[in-house]
Symmetry: C2
Subunit: 145 residues, 2 copies
DNA sequence: ATAATTAAAGATATTTTTATCTTTAATTAT
DNA sequence: ATAATTAAAGATAAAAATATCTTTAATTAT
């Protein structure tokens, strides 16, 4: 469904939301280990998510690292997709037709739009915090050591 | 949602289902034009869909081209995804976690699986013919000249 | 002030996907 | 038989996605 970049972005964001706070920051190594993601690539992705502190915040230097504010944690999951420029997955025609629209629907349009709408609703109503706090012992997420 | 290869595959298949028959075959040019797809790349994709005549059939030489049998037209749309090896999109974890499962769900698992199930049902119950015969004048599909 | 720590930024490499081009093989019509 | 037509197969190219490495800049603790 999503690119690896976006999968890593979602996983890192959920992990940071779960484990960090303004006075408890996480290093790139801890994040990439916990989310089973390549560290350097994850670092690149976090650079994007950190732009303007919209979703993730960071500080450099000793005791620095990545963290999220409570305000950011309450953002919808969709905001991660938006920053990763992959929100188009939620909007595009299944058959990839640019001209597909309500007026000129492709043959999958009417059925697919019902499903797409549920995806949009899911990503827009669930907050990052919702997901982070859903994590229980034994869940696939995360490498809890 | 799907790769371009799969989008082209779906579009070509639907078009061939709609326009061809055992005694009316379509050339690669006609297909790629109608479906807004790059001709050479589409040819490569049709080679795959034609293997073993599972979905699409072809004959070479004058008056040759691509066509589908009525039997093939009644296959579920999912069979195209299977041949394109993109059925995994319908099965994978949204967050890309291999270990995500019913027993060890990721934080999106329970909500996402409901949507995924609808996608699977859609692609398994709709036949290629269903889509082809859905096409009406003015629909985005196809370049009807 | 200095050294240590950490993320940011930039450069490079690898892999995968997408796309095109050329040659070959099959079929048909003449 | 021969030439024309068409898809199959193979080779190559270009672009995008994924991944890593190196250098720089900011921050903190000493």
């Amino acid at each position: 469904m999503f690119s690896k970049s976006t999968e890593y972005a979602l996983r890192a964001t959920i992990y940071i939301a779960q484990k960090s706070s303004e006075n408890c920051k996480l290093g790139i190594k801890a994040i990439s280990d916990a989310t089973d993601s390549p560290p350097h690539f994850t670092a690149k992705i976090l650079q994007v998510l950190t732009r303007n502190n919209k979703i993730i915040s960071s500080v450099r230097g000793p005791n620095g690292g990545f963290y999220m504010t409570e305000e950011a944690k309450s953002l919808p999951v969709r905001s991660v997709l938006d920053v990763m420029e992959e929100d188009s997955v939620l909007e595009r025609c299944v058959l990839g037709l640019n001209k597909c629209s309500e007026a000129k629907p492709c043959p999958m349009h009417s059925q697919y739009k019902l499903i797409k709408q549920q995806l949009i609703t899911l990503f827009e109503t669930k907050t990052i915090m919702d997901l982070a706090s859903d994590i229980r012992d034994g869940e696939a997420f995360i490498n809890n050591d």
